[in-house]
Symmetry: D3
Subunit: 317 residues, 6 copies
Amino acid sequence: MAHGYDAGRLDLPFVGVATFGKYPLCLDWDRLDADVAILGAPFDLGTQWRSGARSGPRAIREASTLFAFGHAGAYDHEDDVVYLPAGQARIVDVGDADMIHTDTLQSHANIEAAVRKILKRGALPVTLGGDHSVNIPCIAAFSDEEPIHLIQFDAHLDFVDERHGVRYGHGNPMRRAAERAYVTGLTQLGIRNVSSTAREGYEDARAMGSDILSVRQIRKLGVDAVLERIPAGKRYYLTIDIDGFDPSIAPGTGTPSHGGFTYYEVLELLDGITRRGTVVGVDLVEVAREYDPAGVTSILAAQVLLNLIGRVLHNRA
Amino acid sequence: MAHGYDAGRLDLPFVGVATFGKYPLCLDWDRLDADVAILGAPFDLGTQWRSGARSGPRAIREASTLFAFGHAGAYDHEDDVVYLPAGQARIVDVGDADMIHTDTLQSHANIEAAVRKILKRGALPVTLGGDHSVNIPCIAAFSDEEPIHLIQFDAHLDFVDERHGVRYGHGNPMRRAAERAYVTGLTQLGIRNVSSTAREGYEDARAMGSDILSVRQIRKLGVDAVLERIPAGKRYYLTIDIDGFDPSIAPGTGTPSHGGFTYYEVLELLDGITRRGTVVGVDLVEVAREYDPAGVTSILAAQVLLNLIGRVLHNRA
Amino acid sequence: MAHGYDAGRLDLPFVGVATFGKYPLCLDWDRLDADVAILGAPFDLGTQWRSGARSGPRAIREASTLFAFGHAGAYDHEDDVVYLPAGQARIVDVGDADMIHTDTLQSHANIEAAVRKILKRGALPVTLGGDHSVNIPCIAAFSDEEPIHLIQFDAHLDFVDERHGVRYGHGNPMRRAAERAYVTGLTQLGIRNVSSTAREGYEDARAMGSDILSVRQIRKLGVDAVLERIPAGKRYYLTIDIDGFDPSIAPGTGTPSHGGFTYYEVLELLDGITRRGTVVGVDLVEVAREYDPAGVTSILAAQVLLNLIGRVLHNRA
Amino acid sequence: MAHGYDAGRLDLPFVGVATFGKYPLCLDWDRLDADVAILGAPFDLGTQWRSGARSGPRAIREASTLFAFGHAGAYDHEDDVVYLPAGQARIVDVGDADMIHTDTLQSHANIEAAVRKILKRGALPVTLGGDHSVNIPCIAAFSDEEPIHLIQFDAHLDFVDERHGVRYGHGNPMRRAAERAYVTGLTQLGIRNVSSTAREGYEDARAMGSDILSVRQIRKLGVDAVLERIPAGKRYYLTIDIDGFDPSIAPGTGTPSHGGFTYYEVLELLDGITRRGTVVGVDLVEVAREYDPAGVTSILAAQVLLNLIGRVLHNRA
Amino acid sequence: MAHGYDAGRLDLPFVGVATFGKYPLCLDWDRLDADVAILGAPFDLGTQWRSGARSGPRAIREASTLFAFGHAGAYDHEDDVVYLPAGQARIVDVGDADMIHTDTLQSHANIEAAVRKILKRGALPVTLGGDHSVNIPCIAAFSDEEPIHLIQFDAHLDFVDERHGVRYGHGNPMRRAAERAYVTGLTQLGIRNVSSTAREGYEDARAMGSDILSVRQIRKLGVDAVLERIPAGKRYYLTIDIDGFDPSIAPGTGTPSHGGFTYYEVLELLDGITRRGTVVGVDLVEVAREYDPAGVTSILAAQVLLNLIGRVLHNRA
Amino acid sequence: MAHGYDAGRLDLPFVGVATFGKYPLCLDWDRLDADVAILGAPFDLGTQWRSGARSGPRAIREASTLFAFGHAGAYDHEDDVVYLPAGQARIVDVGDADMIHTDTLQSHANIEAAVRKILKRGALPVTLGGDHSVNIPCIAAFSDEEPIHLIQFDAHLDFVDERHGVRYGHGNPMRRAAERAYVTGLTQLGIRNVSSTAREGYEDARAMGSDILSVRQIRKLGVDAVLERIPAGKRYYLTIDIDGFDPSIAPGTGTPSHGGFTYYEVLELLDGITRRGTVVGVDLVEVAREYDPAGVTSILAAQVLLNLIGRVLHNRA
């Protein structure tokens, strides 16, 4: 019996407590034993427009159960591959980092501690934001790891240094990452139109080793040429701001920017990245349920993550 | 250290996987060891107007975390009581009964099996619907128990016998209950205006031992007089259709009916019931997230249930 | 066989094209033969705040099907009466008056012509707005009828004479009605707080024979005392602005005003009115689906209308 | 006078009872006399994720009135054709098949009976779902007809055989169709990413004569090459699952899947199909108003259907 | 000409840029010259459940224009008073305090500076939150003023001292206020059911001079008796948490709590307070547009504030 | 100091009263002194389907503040240009034209007077609709100006002459414009599928000098070829109906039509237009907040307008 519907439960997508992908819940992090650990980081004190990104982790978990058909894995007929084969994908949901309202630094510290714990336990950390500032502690947690190359999908450059004392908001993470010695480079994909980063920010980014490409530039180059620009064989940390996608499929976010990616544009890039090097960390940020009345944004986030994780595990094996 | 915020996590309401009240998840039902077991029954094939009640269990779980301030229990200054004191309320979330799409009888059978298991393990079953037809298997599960008196909060009598072969829809549960030998009587509270039950249904209900009171009649009688009409010292099964409440606070349901209960009207009756006899089973049904854009309906459901459970445990002790 | 579920269809509320109460559609007005004719008047060019009332007729029709359990009539256990007994209530939906965008006077003229036709065919006209200005042509259509007394349920006095040339907007209808010789008086119920009518408007209204009562004043007086203030034995035209109800149950309207009526407060007054004289015309206005995400406002409108029509027919017989 | 605005009513889209395309209502099916019959099948007991598809028929009818400018037919300047010329398109709305809550088989039987009746009366059946399981009785109704080739637009293969006894849910219809002798082949268009059908289902489908193409594969092939793969000159039954479209334009459905069709991709395929053979039946399924806050999904469904019907009639003539 | 519609513009509520009540905008605070100054404080980093309160100021401004019929003032027929007579009510909108994302203390400091400026210019500060933590800087700004008595309308006691270092969140403001020497007492109205404040918080509050009353207790006492408990002739600072109102009329807030105030219950208390002493400061907090799909919550906030300001000015004169 | 965050306020997008782009408010039109004047025209009496477009001006203003990062201007890294450099772009918000409910002609006259005033003061008028009929008075206001060429982005031709007396509705503006002597030609872009304009309308349009292109035709031609068809060096008036865009990014409009433009397709055409001649007037119409739950439509409108204005000013300089 291949996948056991008969012996067990049917477990339809809408049934049961919503852990990520209906994978087991592991709240005792000292006992974490898995290939992939899903961590929630429901922090939105770093937003400059609409708040709400704290709802992201629960929204994505809920949506992810749609793809938890589970028993037979996820068959993709175009690739002719069964991703996430039942019984082989060792994925757990480790719940959320502890958030401290009013306190950015302590909340970030708690996220960093959680990611460090996951890394220590040997699992791939996949962090569900929260606003993009949660990337700052996620990257900070890699300080004892081998160097990483950062690949960002986003509408915005997020390269502001400091304004009015703010250094840890959702406009700052790529700057903070670029400052770290163990971040050897950045590839920033989807950047377009106006944002909080001024001209100087772009100049600084390029000076600090960033490769910046807009959606239109990527479409002109094609997937392969874009992949070629990413240093091969590296350890990649992927940070996916849902607003890198077009507002038509990702309305549920704080700062939508028109002219974004379609689903398969990103999936094909992600697929290529999993083949080009090693994915050592992932965050997906800025999903806000408040602006997602039809749920398509959290469904997008879940669909991207489960497909990405499936490809990471498949190509790693 | 009274309640341990210092030693542990702050665990704000919006943080973490949404189990009911943030109580532990117990998916291995053979190891269930608790005073109260929360079971989801996300079934909505029995609805006659808007579907969506399958979203109830997840919606209520999510809302219930608002009330999971937890560490210090739930202090009610009007009663001067700390309900659900931390460390003493042994409550678990047992996940959902298995649902079989297209198949009413099998889905109901799975709910019945789950409630039977909870009863066997000595816990109080609290079932989250799902439409009101899930009450049918909940009551069926008591066939080996001591007799029960059924107390219903609802806008509708739900006393239809059979039409076009339908005997297990959400218009039938009270009829099905009244037919059982171990249901010694019914108190039906909040019944008002027109519904699917015709005049004959009311006549049958009264003939089969039901006491039917509208919201206006209850307001005229007062809480004490209503409680007096309920047989004292019995084992009570409570079935709470969220549409018993006024649509102003419970819009998120399939068949809203204007002129319903306010929150404290029901809470005061529930409080009295927990003092008048023994609550041996509870279901709360017909919450549908699709029609609850501000979330007030699922918050109401969670607020009612946590206050009810707190009083059941407090008054039992 | 009392009401024929067996022989025919089950016809659940959500099934079928949404005519009002699932009553027959009669688009050939020359063949109209009924006791009650439901007419849509989807006009909202008269609004001063949020538009959208043109969606009212379709929204109310849709909601009314919830109450179309039909085969057995509408049994009210508090009154112990079956209202709208199947086969006896001769009600038809005559569709909508023709609307001419940009053109208030022509749209109103078309409403007036439709109501005149209904009156000529001997049916009770029940008009679904549309904004409150549709009351102007409805009243105009009674110019050849016996005198009428106008009873209004509303938050606002709607007694503005003219501003910037506007005489036919939704702030003017009661003034326009009071000017007509065949309107012998007005009872204005629910009027509260600030609105577009200035102090002079109130003075004019009282001078022109209006009795103005707020919700709080009505609560203090009680239903019977309020009914006593309405001239007995008259022909009543009822105009029900949904914003007379509290925004908690009627959010779906252009200009909500807090502190309004509950459902039974209005139903009890309506019930008394149907006993105190003859209802010769009804309109229910200002339902706007755009602000009614849970549908409770259109459900309220339908519930009020079907209960009112049931009582009109029951008490007339 | 070409199209008679002057003599009659303006009949703006928002005016009047919402029958499909404002075409006449024919509830006496024995008198059905038309080229095209629109049937509602508001069934959603077959869904595995979000319910709500029972709202589809009314939502599509309402949206279709936007395209009922009517008097002059539907002029498409790109084709330079007036589709659905007034007075020539003999289309009727026959209301809904009778639904029996809790009972899948009886509801399906009623749908089958209705489609059989339409076929018997010589009209083209166009069925508005409801979830995709309503395709099962639609196809069953063709058992006495000449063989058909089935063309599906969908994100999901819907080729599950049986699980936990379920054979008539919304994951099963293409399997059920493929089993029938008079279904000579299947063309399955838009199939992508993970769904409830496992790898074996795809293998079975291909073995049973199905041609499966993803959206990306179709884009690479082009419209003409795709049309070439469909057997020419056949009798085609078209089943259009709205989730074949991209969630950006079809959020209002139970199980959205990113990476779907745009509007014109489908319209151009549909146009080609109406020229390549004879369309003998159509269903459009899985529209759920609950997840369609801006109404774009039901507008899409109506726009697709009216354009399809126009082309069927135009190319047939 | 009393109010000049003829000479000027009609200025319907939906017309024009949304300043509070359509009163003039004064962004140069050094030139502030008014009786009342409306200040936005769009801060929501202090929330423990749903964020979104940063949208409050704009939402309330937008809603307030509904009540800007303006030219003739606001006539209340129950009081027979024209409040806010045109040309006499010197009210200005001073825009918002500057917010610094990620930074609670600096954002609070900016609010405090703004309120100090308003006080220095001799105007009554009316602050639009933002979450309830914005009350902390509002009260801080009174350090150089005569003592004040604080009157709170709220579901929650907000009397938490400190947890995990948090002292300036939305659960702390009443504690922070009670600690100040110039706050001579607190009256806390509407407090009910469970919240983040534990039993010790209530004990501390009473020990520090607070009078705590639930909604039910207030209903039993009556308006006059409640007013009697407030020290007479004092300088009152009013802090109105919109969640003091019932969720039925105030769904648009972060932490709704069932069983709250109706509109007139609060208005009558506010009216009495304006007669019993001097209102020297006001804040209205926790309105969140994200959960207010029909806009009734922001309409409530605007209606309460304009009625309150009208009574403050009327009774002061 | 280049852009002065340090000296002044941070002024995050969500902070402050929502004028367009946070530019200054100028309500004294006799003192208007600017390069660009933003005028609201909240008129929706001309709509034939869903109303609501009166909410457009406020919705667009609110959304435009997202792009008011301001201090450093709007840097577009693809163009390597800082548009709208701080201190150089002289833009003001002049509030709204006065609307007269029920009265189309007077409301239009007020819009015309406002645009005339703007033209007289030497500023570029940018009008925010309102429905597309507001284009009629906008064009009328150019009667004393040099001739203009009209460029329209729209799904619909809007070329109806007259029906039932209606000449100034939202289906008529392009016909009205074409009739004017000083309109030397029309370019109509994006026109597709069925609309209220019948075949004769298209024939008339072409006869009166219109160039009509569908979205698909434009895609085939490419941006440059389309620009070539527009007479060079002319004075262009741009009228942008938001429904020219695809419903996926512009759901918030009265009459969505599938198959529309993406964001960059329009931006590239607009960019080319600002280089090909002189833009002398702009309107953007048909945004309706009621159907825009995630706000993406008003964000699109604001993003298009600010990018357009930036390019007009940049290329003019």
